[in-house]
């Protein structure tokens, strides 16, 4: 009995099971399942959630890979894949089929178990993130009380898979890529966590659904709630790009230096798993950014000002970036910005990467936390006055920075390090 009691407490701590979307769904549509003994019924619900998400989420990378190729092509005045299907929309599918039929090669001198296990770890972790992201008021696999903390924790496990892959491949490229990846992800997790902390300080909850609930209407979006969260959004987004190893922070996979980084030795389906996980990750961090800062499933217009019922309500909700499709649009916009950045900026050096994180992002994040704390002391929670002041400060700040301050700031830039300095920083 004590054990059971403990389990109950733990369960209540982690999961608000009465609020679970899946359980409500089952109660509405398949009440038979509620008569099953409690653990069994819960298992069935869990399995149903798993099946739905494992079936839907891999379709995202399928589209995103094509989108990436098309975006990159058009930025470079090309047209991208055009042959497989109209405008090449089935290209990723064809590539996937090709990868499935490829030889599954394991390096002879490598560590076979780790080599085989690491794609699954990365794949599973990047998919587990989706369990805690709310896509609508009721579309959420598991409403965790510690949702954002869970996301941070589970996405940190990915780095373990990366290091396993790099070590097990027994290849210098893989190992170097994995080491860089570990250094990068561990470093950038700190500003990422600190930016999330500013949000958590404002909302006073780790629950993802609670974070979204307060953001009804564009003025209530957390990005505009204080000037500090406005800065935190950008720090969060750039750190997130570094977290998912995308250009300009793609040192772990630098093609010109490391062939492909930690997945150099992988082929066939295992490589496809890495690839899917990478794009799923990209989508996940964008979805988290949209949820934390851009209102989640709340639109630009507050919900009570829109008709709720019928198709008209749904269309209006989507147009104002609310609801399931609204989240998807916001997320895909952020994903597009990631792709856009990829084809704009060149890759950073290792020392520049670490400089950016430790000298810029972390101090700025700490300043943000301080600022949000003081803001919370001055203004009462969610007061209209604070939002007006905040938006005014943001606009004035932008004008001041890019209009007035910029002219003087653009002259005082630090000169690029000399080659001798660069050599020193590379060796240390």
């Amino acid at each position: 009995m004590p054990l059971g009691l403990q389990f109950e407490n733990l369960h209540q701590f982690f999961v608000q099971s009465s609020e679970s979307w899946a359980q409500r769904f089952v109660q509405d549509h398949a009440p038979v399942l509620t008569h099953l003994p409690a653990p069994l019924g819960e298992l069935v619900i869990m399995l149903a959630c798993c099946v739905i998400f494992v079936a839907v989420v891999p379709l995202l990378p399928l589209g995103l890979v094509l989108a990436e190729r098309k975006v990159s092509a058009h930025i470079q005045d090309r047209v991208g894949p055009m042959r497989v299907g109209p405008h090449g929309i089935l290209q990723t599918l064809a590539d996937g089929v090709k990868l499935i039929f490829k030889e599954d090669h394991i390096p002879r001198e490598g560590d076979k178990f780790l080599f085989v296990a690491s794609p699954y770890i990365i794949f599973a972790c990047s998919f587990a993130v989706f369990a805690a992201i709310p896509f609508d008021k009721s579309i959420l696999v598991s409403e965790l009380n510690i949702g954002i903390f869970y996301i941070m924790a589970i996405s940190s496990v990915i780095v373990m898979g990366v290091i396993m892959a790099g070590w097990a491949s027994n290849s210098k490229w893989s190992l170097l890529g994995a080491m860089r990846s570990a250094a990068q992800i561990v470093s950038y997790e700190i500003p990422l966590g600190l930016c999330i902390l500013t949000v958590v300080m404002l909302v006073q909850s780790l629950n993802m659904q609670d974070i979204v609930t307060g953001q009804d209407g564009i003025a209530n979006w957390l990005i505009f709630r204080t000037p500090f969260t406005f800065v935190a959004f950008f720090v969060f987004f750039i750190s997130a790009i570094a977290e998912v190893n995308r250009t300009p922070f793609d040192l772990p996979e630098a093609e010109s230096e490391l062939v492909a980084g930690f997945h150099t030795e992988y082929s066939g389906m295992r490589f496809a798993l890495f690839f899917i996980a990478e794009y799923a990750n990209m989508f996940a961090v964008s979805a988290i950014a949209a949820t934390l800062f851009l209102g989640g499933w709340h639109g630009i217009v507050p919900a009570e000002m829109l008709p709720q019922a019928g198709i008209l309500g749904f269309v209006l909700k989507t147009i104002t970036l609310g609801g399931l499709l609204g989240v998807a649009i916001k997320t895909l916009l952020l994903v597009f910005v990631m792709m856009w950045l990829r084809w704009t900026l060149p890759r950073l050096r290792v020392d520049q990467l670490m400089n950016l994180c430790w000298k810029y992002f972390i101090p700025i994040s700490f300043f943000n936390i301080l600022g949000v704390g003081i803001w919370g002391l001055i203004f009462p929670k969610d007061s209209m006055l604070s939002i007006i002041i905040s938006i005014a400060v943001i606009i004035l700040g932008l004008i001041f920075t890019f209009g007035v301050l910029g002219r003087s700031l653009s002259k005082g830039a630090e000169p690029p390090p000399s080659s001798a300095e660069r050599r020193i920083s590379a060796t240390t």
């Binding site: 975006v71 005045d77 047209v79 856009w340 084809w343 704009t344 700031l409």
Partner: protein, 223 residues
Amino acid sequence: MRHYFSNIYLGLYTALVGMRITFKQFLRPSVTHQYPYDRSFEQKKNIREIPKGYRGKLHNRIEDCIGCKKCELICPVDCITITTQKLPKGERLWDSMNVVHLKNRTEIVGNIEGDEKPASNTTVAIQTRDEGTVTVSSEEIANIVERKPVIFYLDQFDIDMSLCMYCGLCTEVCPTECLIMYDNLSDGIEYSTFDRTDLIYEFAKPEMYDQPADESTEAEAAD
């Protein structure tokens, strides 16, 4: 301290400038030509014509080939295979046609009516195979390839274009200039196939010996 904020500002500002440029490029129409499917670009003026004398796919006007095997002999990579049967001594099938090179670097293939070496300041009538009679002034003519008697049956005249190295020696030695290299886009260049055996071109037409040749050559053969 000033450096610190300058770096932040410049980092943001330069990234935004770069993003503006790439976004403009994103909205610009792409410059790719979907070549074999969309050939509209060929009408544009900036696409150069293939120059005269370009060495493209080999072609043999088999009726004019006299079976001399000079091309087979000179081919450095042995891509031409010819088998012939000689006619009895003194007999011939017909004569090959004249090739009249004009001074404007075009050529007319046909039989010159009358003297093969026209005097100056006369008009020359050339009986072509497809376009009827063409008359040109003898001033325009650069040189004329003379007619030669066809005294071989050509059983086989195969050219393996997968072996050809495009040296053009065979076209230079051809006495009747019936072996040519196409220098236009559609015939001379675009003949890639999925099967290498499709690149072996068989020019011999045994059926052209079955029916009697047209009257003029018949009459000449009777002479």
